[in-house]
Amino acid sequence: MKVVISLLFAGMAPLLVSTIVDRFKGAERRWIAASALFFSFIATVAAFVTYLDHPVAHVGFGFFQALVDPAVLTISPMIVWITFSLVMGASRDSLNESVMGVLCFVSGLSMIALFVGSPFVLLGIEAVASITLAVFMGRHGVRTRTLSLALSGLLFIAALLSLGTNWNLSFEEVPTQAVWLALIGGAMRLGLFPFSVGLASSHRVRVRTLGLIGTLPFGGLIVLDRIVEPAMMQGRVSHDLVTGALLLSALIGAGCAISQLSLRRSFGWMQVCVHSLICIGLMDADVSALAGVEASTPLAGELLWAGFFLTTAGFGTAIAMVERRVGPCRLDRFSGLHSSMPFLSLMFLLLGVGLAGAPGTLEFIAEDLLLNTAHVNGDIGMLVVVLTIAMLGYNVMRAYFRIFYGRSVEARAHYRMKPRERLSLVLLASVVFLGGMLPSLIPLVATAQASGLH
């Protein structure tokens, strides 16, 4: 119960702040949001400390069910950490729009969605989050992403309505029709192929932080994890079909990212690839369990989620910081920014190698775990996963070389990074590398290791 209360507080704090933050002006909005997130982080840590002796907890009944497992205690603090970093890294334009409010709202909803035990509540939360984001993206003139998010929200509502009236429904009992609706809604929310057009174009939005909020995996994944996965375990949804689609999406995302000449769109396609890999990791757990393979794979999906969430948020923030200063960047020419932005260059590289899964990063462990059971997807699936990982790494290096190398441009006053921007990137990169070198600090890994000793 204490765990649930801590998590509830962690989620409610930013939600409540989101309703009042717009009453403040300018930089005050940033600091109000940051304060709420600080307390939220303490609450998630408190939840972890309280939770230590319990592998999985089911609390409550009906709508008011909570499900607490190691994944929740890993992803929740990650969400807070990332949101805090985004708040610190957001531009002044973000402060003048309602971005702080949206950010807190979406992250609060995501944290609550993580631990709800009722499919009704989960789908309701995700629908609200999708529609909220759709409204804000629509206000900023990005129709394609607005359409995807709005459709995603409607599909979640349709799934909710098809659940029936059994309020004690568990995730395993969700009707097949609702599962399919949730699956497609989740795919749209995450921008998986063929719904990727919206994701790639999202970063056109004027306020880049909003573009990040609209594309980072704050939601969607939990729907796939809680609702779709059990249906696959039961054989009601074809694992081969879903995983096949995810593999295709990952490969297309990686390939289109390399083919792109615009940095923003390339990043958008990288997100498609990354979201697909996370989903593959989450889905593979079931097949492995069915095949009698040891249960290390639940770790893969959730670690990938945590790691990719951090690195895409960081990489996206770094890209936003670059483009804020020099305008849209192209990948068919050199921009030569290394001399004038050395710190940003370094952080871009660190976060980029984190995204690519270099040794010493959280992604390296997660990808190694994913490869551990890649064979359950067959030979083609295995090849696709490996190829995708290789292509992702190449694209990161290509982006780095194009943006920061080449004939140097003269540094200007506004190229200088503010301390809060540096803090934002350091916060994200530090967890990526700390998680890679000391993975046992992560609750998910610690619990899995403890249970692995039996």
Binding site: G141, R324, F334, H414
Partner: protein, 442 residues
């Protein structure tokens, strides 16, 4: 007692480099103005310590006075069905390569302190050099293939960033990216082999590789060979290496003359228990080695600058080392690696002075030195000579082949991109990017 001493020596030999990297990283993060002297001292201390301790283990291991030293630092992740172990083993081949690593990198580090004195990227060079040394360390002593892959990745990253050392010029940067593309392409083979090994054996330990037989051994062996081709610049992946000469001479010496390029045959030596299980694999190694040697020899003869000539000469020798491995002469191959690495390092470090050396020699002799070498091509018919020259000048058209393969591979993604952007223009009111760019911060 003896075991503890050996473990201490082993641990002492491999620890200084990662510690130096951490110190350097922290120091550079806070200030890029660390004095050159301090960085050089740090590097010198860690290299000399590692070299001394490795030398203490070198002779006993080669002579067989002591058994291979194993050290297990535990697993950083260990769950049911998976573990990532920090397990190391120093055997005869590993200690030789490790010793070579410390000796040559230490030498190059000492040389670079003058060569790169007051260069803007002095700190960056040393940091990347230490990362490179760490990568080689891991490859030399890792007990499992997944650890070797970690070292392989570090090697690739540091190598790419050092090729692009002179980052202001587009040429080195393009060539760095080209090299990285080759590395990632061949890493697919290594990754796939890792997946399959784990699937069949449940472990990636090198000791267990010999248990693989039949079609799975053939497939995994083939993938490992493919994985090793990139770093070794084995045909058709040769074009990146001469272009990698754009980096500082000292990094060219250590990477493409000495160690990085020899990591490829060293990997084959480490996994030889698997390769030897199938004669077809060994035949493939011999064939690839021969083709590479012929290719590099012919192309090298048409080069007009010293570093590129040396690069191709190096590749030709690596091809021959592959032939030796394919024929089962592992000891010969290791001896060849050591001798060749030392010779090439010397040649690369002397290459900026090659014209001066020639002038000094001419003055001493009183006339220009006579041409050396036996030019076998004079025995070929004229038209064969012409065409061989033409093909060699075009580097066997491998660049064009790589471009064609790249375009074919990327064409579906180009189509999807185009379709996606077309769809966007139909939906968006203003699909232009520039109009919606964020206001530049003032």
């Amino acid at each position: 007692m003896q075991t503890d001493l050996l473990h201490m020596l082993f641990f002492g030999a491999i620890l200084p480099v990662p510690l130096s990297i951490i110190l350097l990283a922290v120091g550079l993060f806070y200030s890029n103005r660390i004095p050159e002297r301090r960085i050089h001292q740090l590097m010198a201390m860690s290299m000399s310590t590692s070299l001394l301790l490795t030398t203490a283990l070198l002779v006993p291991l080669i002579a067989g006075w002591i058994d291979p030293i194993e050290m297990d630092l535990g697993a950083i992740v260990a769950v049911r069905g998976y573990s990532f172990d920090l397990a190391f083993e120093l055997n005869r081949d590993g200690v030789i390569f490790l010793w070579l690593d410390f000796a040559l990198c230490g030498l190059v580090g000492a040389f670079s302190s003058n060569y790169l004195h007051r260069e803007e990227g002095y700190n960056r060079f040393y940091f990347l050099l230490m990362v490179f040394v760490l990568g080689l360390e891991i490859i030399s002593v890792a007990q499992g293939l997944d650890m070797i892959f970690a070292g392989w990745e570090l090697l690739g990253l540091s190598s790419t960033l050092l090729i692009a050392y002179f980052y202001r010029r587009p040429g080195p940067v393009e060539n760095g990216l080209r090299a990285y593309k080759v590395y990632r392409t061949t890493d697919v083979g290594l990754l796939l082999s890792l997946v399959l090994i784990h699937h069949h054996l449940g472990t990636t330990s090198l000791d267990a590789l010999g248990q693989l037989t039949g079609p799975s051994a053939l497939l995994i062996g083939g993938l490992l060979i493919f994985g090793a081709m990139g770093k070794g610049a084995i045909a058709p992946f040769t074009p990146w290496l001469p272009r990698a000469m754009e980096g500082p001479t000292t990094s060219s010496a250590i990477f493409y003359g000495a160690l990085s390029v020899h990591a490829s045959p060293f990997l084959l030596i480490r996994v030889r228990s698997l390769l030897e299980s199938d004669p077809l694999l060994m035949s493939v190694i011999v064939a690839l080695g021969l083709i590479t040697a012929v290719h590099a020899t012919t192309v090298g003869r048409t080069q007009t600058d010293i570093k590129t000539s040396l690069g191709y000469a190096c590749v030709a020798q690596v091809g021959l080392i592959w032939v030796e491995i394919g024929l089962g002469f592992h000891t010969l191959a290791m001896a060849h690696i050591v001798g060749h690495a030392i010779l090439r390092t010397w040649q690369f470090l002397r290459s900026p002075s090659v014209l001066l050396d020639r002038q000094v020699l001419a003055r001493a002799m009183g006339h220009n030195p006579n041409p050396t070498g036996h030019y076998f091509e004079k025995y070929l018919p004229a038209f064969v000579r012409r065409w061989t020259y033409r093909i060699a000048l075009e580097r066997w058209y491998l660049d064009e082949l790589n471009v064609v393969i790249g375009r074919v591979f990327m064409s579906p993604f180009d189509l999807i991109n185009a379709a996606s952007e077309w769809l966007e223009t139909k939906i968006e009111t203003d699909p232009s990017e520039d109009v919606v760019s964020e206001v530049l911060e003032q």
